[in-house]
Symmetry: C2
Subunit: 629 residues, 2 copies
Amino acid sequence: MTTEQDQWRELGQQLRVDSIRSSSAAGSGHPTSSMSAADLMAVLMSKFLHYDFGTPDDPRNDHLIFSKGHASPLLYAMYKAAGAISDDEMLTFRRFGSRIEGHPTPVLPWVDVATGSLGQGLPIAVGVALAGKRLDRLKYRVWCLCGDSEMAEGSMWEALEAAGHNKLDNLTAIIDVNRWGQTGETMHAWDLDAYRRRAEAFGWKAIEIDGHDVAAVDRALARAVETTGQPTVIIARTEKGHGVKAVSNLPGKHGKPLDDPEASIAELGGLRSIHVDVPKPTIAGTPHEFPTTALKLPIYEPGTKEATRKAFGDALVALGKARGEVVAIDGEVGNSTYTELFATALPDRFFQMYIAEQQMIATAVGMQVRGWKPFAVTFAAFLARAYDFVRMAAVSRANIAVAGSHAGVSIGEDGPSQMALEDLASYRAVHGSTVLYPSDPNQTAALVPQMADREGIVFMRTTREKLPVLYDPGEDFHIGGSRVVRATDDDAVTLIGAGITLHEALRAADQLAGEGITARVIDLYSVKPIDAETVRTAGRETGAIITVEDHWPEGGIGDAVLSALAEEESHPLVVKLAVRSMPGSGTPAELLAAAGIDADHIADAARELTGRAGARGRSKSEVGSGRRE
Amino acid sequence: MTTEQDQWRELGQQLRVDSIRSSSAAGSGHPTSSMSAADLMAVLMSKFLHYDFGTPDDPRNDHLIFSKGHASPLLYAMYKAAGAISDDEMLTFRRFGSRIEGHPTPVLPWVDVATGSLGQGLPIAVGVALAGKRLDRLKYRVWCLCGDSEMAEGSMWEALEAAGHNKLDNLTAIIDVNRWGQTGETMHAWDLDAYRRRAEAFGWKAIEIDGHDVAAVDRALARAVETTGQPTVIIARTEKGHGVKAVSNLPGKHGKPLDDPEASIAELGGLRSIHVDVPKPTIAGTPHEFPTTALKLPIYEPGTKEATRKAFGDALVALGKARGEVVAIDGEVGNSTYTELFATALPDRFFQMYIAEQQMIATAVGMQVRGWKPFAVTFAAFLARAYDFVRMAAVSRANIAVAGSHAGVSIGEDGPSQMALEDLASYRAVHGSTVLYPSDPNQTAALVPQMADREGIVFMRTTREKLPVLYDPGEDFHIGGSRVVRATDDDAVTLIGAGITLHEALRAADQLAGEGITARVIDLYSVKPIDAETVRTAGRETGAIITVEDHWPEGGIGDAVLSALAEEESHPLVVKLAVRSMPGSGTPAELLAAAGIDADHIADAARELTGRAGARGRSKSEVGSGRRE
């Protein structure tokens, strides 16, 4: 009669064998990094993980996140053992068209988030665990398999800190200390105490074990479940490539299939076909729902002034009251971004992540796993800190809203370290992203609810300075739209701005009008998707476009406009006004002028361009270019 | 007779008074965050900092980095006390045109690096300290003032880890634990032990003190100097706004001038005009110089194949042998990026930063402070992790080279987590940056030495796959150039690619040639600066351009080309081929095809576009557009 422990050991061998088989079939992959953690996962899936593979969206399911995403052969071997995928499908690992990708992605219904950029799984697991504690209020557990190499990522320590601070006893991290990184020994090799000291200092219960001793694994996981008031980390000493002499605990064996898979499989005792009945969730309850009232957006009176960052904060409160799934996540700047209003009005759905932007975005990604609608908010400049997390959030098919305040030189005296001047470019270049840059507080308020309903990464850039209210409350603005603020039948030039530069463009148009130059002015509040048709029409009708942005010249409004015009038969002249030298301190007006993006500079550019375009337009009109004159 | 301690206390008061004065003159700034650290800095500058303000580039100088850059009023007050700037200049704080900016930048000769994005000063200080130990081999010390709030940033723990691991006893961090963040209490408030436990776990000597007790500060700094074999952190309990009752140790006093500066100054004992004779450097020696030989670049024979990542690795070794100031910094992927060749050939100038990309870039920034030429290298996808550090490196006017391998879908089976598809966009949007994307190994080799001589952030994207050698060894390629690989007088379309897509474009041109469509092919290996003239000429002469990039459609090669064409009178039709859906795993060929950027898709696009452009071109030629036909 086989004991439970024998079964676990056998399952561990099967997971190793299958990791070898899939990576050998693929001709690439990370079998040795899978083999080290096989016993840990064998015990976990047999006894501690509560998960219904037939109902992956059961809110009572535990969550298992492979922070060391390159151990995907192990994860897929587990899915096979659990009966979630067939052996045949497992062996399509890394093939074109297969959902058994090189690193896990949510193309598979049991994968919460994409991993493979190391140091992200644990921070996201913290987000899921926070959702469990404070939003869902369900007793599911979050299990996170971490590599030892990735403990060098600062983001892991942001996660340790956040989990310790929030006493996330529903979270268990398992560090697979197999000693070898990609190119050599890790910083701490097999010094388990090094990890223990660090984790304990950050407020975690730490348990050191031999990761190939299934009895020890069992005891450690049981202790993790019993531990209250703090998260647990199991620090497991393992061997990379365990069980196969040719690769076990040797350097140079990272990220490649085994040389002799058949002999290795034989060494492991051959193929097995163990099926694991993964425990189903036993906890009771349904996700908590927060009470709501009807949506009542804030109103700003035309003629007054307000900053779009303030309107964002007001609108987020309104949205939160109307939509119970909306959550605000702050990077300790809530009095600047006005998420402090949300913190006051809806404290149960406000999360202070302190000055840890990677954890802030990871928290958002983790919470959307459970269907919450997170808004992660800080200065737009500091969002650059979490760019890899946003990149990976797109791979995770995550739906998160991100807002960045204090954009551009117009923040004034604080200087360039606080000025976001590359955020439009970096967020435009995220797959499936939306990039909004409202110019008016009522417009901001109209767009905020749409952020919650939009798929993908939805970014809003807001402005520090108070700006005149241009639009009436309740006017229609939608993602992908634009607003032609001024137009006549004989506009000589089009000025395109957004945010603070729209206001400069309007002032420039006033100047130009006094000189008989009529300018069309477009509010490009939706930078991506862009209202290409309005831009193209303006190009055709005016023949000359000036884009103005409080941003470096690359990748922002100007490039978005040019991209919309790329295939135009009759292409307008386009001049991009943008920030081209490193700003210092100064008043907003001084810095806008120094950057050449204030009304005076826009007007100057328009005078010069209309001269050129006029000459060109006359020539083109002779061949019927379709341009009105 | 005043004692030394009395003098320090008086100096502390002066630094507080001057912090109030400058921020009041500016109407903004962070006086209370300056006042907390004034006593710490008073003792430091009076006795322990060795710095010749008259000769800021003396290599024997200590380095003082304000990681809490918002305490700039304190830093400037110190400069005034040291006689480096006048009182009048100090009072130009935050004014337009003043070098006394809101946050410190190297516009001032005594500022090594820009700070103000929290969590960056200490990682950079680690880089300077590493340079002192292992490159300069001089016994200067590095002092770093840290805020307590910024200890939440993971990058700080990357720095703690790197400094502990490298036993940087020439580095002293001083944490100003004033308890209050921007919006409330920090995570650990005045729990000094929380910081001590963490720092000790990371291998540091930790000393807790009352940061307003100058005798204790003196003893702690003395112990830091005496400590060998490990870095020291002084954890100082302080009061934000210390010395002025109206603001001392109160919430809501962050980042604003005092309400009643005159009364506050009176409370502090009024104005003082203490001049501090900051100790000059006393250490002996000159910076170490590494022996060099003549530059001998690697050679690749046309007709063979090689990956540009390998050519980069080879060329970096060659450059390192010829240029003693060249340094390689790795993110634990040296066998993929081929910096392992540098590690073997020139181990003294190779720095393993493990999987900690923020610390990797910070190390580079720190080393260039001392005139070294660092090349920081990892997968291009993972460079996204350090984007805020690169953004700030530009504000620091840093000269660093960065290389990212494994770009685009053409890496194949590993899947999207490992594919850089936004790196061109994000690096183009860094101020003053250079973006290179070589298509050939000999070209790569020719460009690498130029990276060391170029100012600013110089990024090179390399390709995983082996590609045919196109160019002869020794051919001339320069930053800002391009190469017209094929051209005739009657080209019907221009194909622009770089890296792997250039090779697809060439294959497409072969296909098209068989159908009588002659295509110009441009190798746009310098994406920024772009060879605008060659692009414009091609546009004028062929009337139709197809850009092809293994990158998302936003912000990369296509947008760079469109930007170069923006003001063209006769604008070609431009079609951008790029990756438009989330890739999975597969072979490089499968994924290039699925993304629509392989030769077949390029040829298809060219057929379609030449149809359109031909019709248009005939019409335009009637009015003498200058296009050849």
